[in-house]
């Protein structure tokens, strides 16, 4: 399983390049492997096609890559005709709205090869995936991105298994992203253990949300979040060091203040009382144009706090 993984990991190097390039011109990427060393994949320069129909794409693909292939794989083919030993396949993979993948094979496109299938060591075949991402296309014609995959030596070239492999690599790439997100998973190699960690992490996050909402319920007995006060306090706290009196009120919702509050809070909390209430009220009137009755709000808070404590 581990070695299998390594293969897939090294193979999936190219996928981020292709999958991310979904805007702009379509990009076709060829991947060929050095037969002997099997270590450094040779990536052909991606060619971009205009957003035409599939037939145009196929036509240009047939003509132009001829030269590339003869250069690139000359050493591997040992001088044989560029497409001589290859069995070419066309497969379309359409992505529906909900992300389901259905593979339909269109084998009529095997033109120049005829029926020559070489199932021996130097087996290569291509699978084109047509991903319709309608959410990203701003044009009338749906954008088509083709990923060319070559089967490696000794691997099945059935279009089903190739599509399977592509799908598996996509999954493993996403799992790697997840690995970075979930803390403490960098050393884990193996999907099962990784999934366990992910499950634990998601459960703990959900429990945290529950806990925090419970705490918020105790702190705030009437759900009357006096948000303006809270936010202004955050604003003031984060800028305490800079300027005391003149506070710019243009940013009502500075998100950076939230990050800022967590850090300076233990140190600044002592300095809160000396802040004059008049400043606060003045701020509020400027910002929101309402009359703010600080005394009653404070009274409410104090009274309710006592009430909530008795509840618990």
């Amino acid at each position: 399983m581990v070695s299998h993984h390594n293969n897939e990991f090294s193979n999936s190097l190219l996928y981020p390049l292709v999958l991310e390039n979904q805007q702009g011109p379509q990009i076709v990427q060829h991947m060929s492997r050095d037969m002997v060393s099997n270590s450094n994949p040779k990536v052909q320069v991606p060619m971009s096609y205009g957003s035409g129909s599939f037939s145009e794409m196929v036509g240009s693909f047939l003509q132009s890559p001829n030269n590339e292939h003869s250069q690139g794989e000359g050493e591997e083919d040992s001088g044989s005709a560029p497409f001589g030993n290859r069995r070419r396949k066309r497969g379309h993979e359409y992505k529906n709205d909900e992300g389901g993948v259905s593979v339909t094979k269109d084998c009529s496109g095997k033109s120049s090869d005829g029926g020559r299938k070489d199932q021996d060591d130097q087996k290569k075949s291509k699978v084109e995936e047509n991903q319709d991402k309608s959410t990203q296309s701003g044009e009338a014609a749906p954008k088509e991105n083709f990923i060319h995959v070559r089967a490696r030596r000794g691997q099945a070239t059935n279009s089903h298994s190739l599509a399977e492999r592509v799908r598996r690599e996509k999954i493993s790439e996403r799992m790697r992203l997840l690995q970075e997100l979930v803390p403490g998973c960098s050393k884990i190699t193996g999907k099962a253990v990784m999934l366990d960690e992910i499950i634990n992490y998601v459960q703990s996050l959900q429990q945290q949300v529950e806990f925090l909402s419970m705490k918020l319920a105790t702190v705030n007995p009437e759900l009357n979040l006096d948000l303006e006060r809270i936010l202004s306090k955050d604003i003031l706290q984060s800028r305490m060091g800079g300027y005391g009196g003149g506070i710019s009120c243009s940013q009502a919702f500075p998100s950076s203040s939230f990050q800022g509050t967590l850090v300076p809070m233990p140190t600044i909390s002592n300095q809160l009382p000396p802040l004059p209430q008049s400043v606060l009220e003045h701020e509020f009137q400027n910002l929101y144009g309402m009359s703010y009755d600080s005394s009653t709000a404070l009274g409410n808070m104090g009274h309710n706090n006592g009430g909530s404590k008795s509840e618990l």
Binding site: M1, E98, G99, G100, T135, R167, K170, I171, R174, M175, L177, L178, L181, K191, A192, L195, D196, I198, I199, Y201, V202, L205, Q206, V209, E210, L212, S213, M214, L216, A217, T218, V219, N220, E222, L223, L225, D226, L227, R229, I230, K233, D234, F253, S255, S256, F258, Q259, T261, L262, M265, S269, N270, L272, P273, M301, G302, N305, S308, E311, L312
Partner: protein, 170 residues
């Protein structure tokens, strides 16, 4: 993926959350502790879900679930019908594609497969609307869900500490 828009997402989430809470407090006075907690959590979840695209499945499923349980706040009434329809369509299509699981004899591979199935099922149960997702989609949605949960927790925690500070300035 979402690194650039992180702070704006949090802002948006906070705004929507506060709006939802205000509506809740206007409707019902003197809620019990549990009700309050549920209201807070629900509005937070809904606010987080509404910051995500229509293409993200777990958020739509969350909103649909909340709407169907009739505990929804006014802000979510608009996507109610469309998300419900989407959910039905999703369930129908996924049912058509479900493959039958063959019970095989015990061999190493089958055991591994069974373990994976168990875990993916667990993950699907965790994720809102996860039952109708396939593998690749599931992993993607989990990724997004984890990021959203983290943002949500951060904002909630900072709000909590801020309100605690207001009450006890010492």
């Amino acid at each position: 993926m979402r690194n650039q828009e992180g702070s704006s997402v949090k802002e948006e989430f906070l705004r929507k959350w506060i709006r939802g809470l205000r509506r809740y407090s206007c409707e019902k006075k003197n809620m019990s502790f549990l009700e309050r907690k549920k209201a807070i959590k629900l509005s937070a979840d809904l606010a987080m879900a509404s910051t995500r695209d229509k293409t993200i499945r777990w958020s739509q499923a969350l909103i649909a679930n909340a709407a169907s349980e009739n505990v929804c706040i006014g802000s979510s009434s608009a996507p109610k019908k469309s998300s419900r329809k989407k959910k039905m369509m999703l369930m129908r299509r996924s049912r058509a594609r479900v493959k039958s699981v063959k019970k095989e004899m015990s061999s190493a591979r089958c055991i591994a497969k069974r373990l994976m199935e168990k875990r993916t099922r667990k993950l699907k149960n965790l994720l809102p609307g996860g039952e109708s997702m396939e593998d690749g989609c599931l992993v993607e949605e989990t990724l997004d869900y984890i990021q959203s949960l983290r943002d949500q927790i951060e904002v909630m925690r900072s709000l909590l500490t801020a309100s605690q500070l207001i009450i006890n300035p010492s």
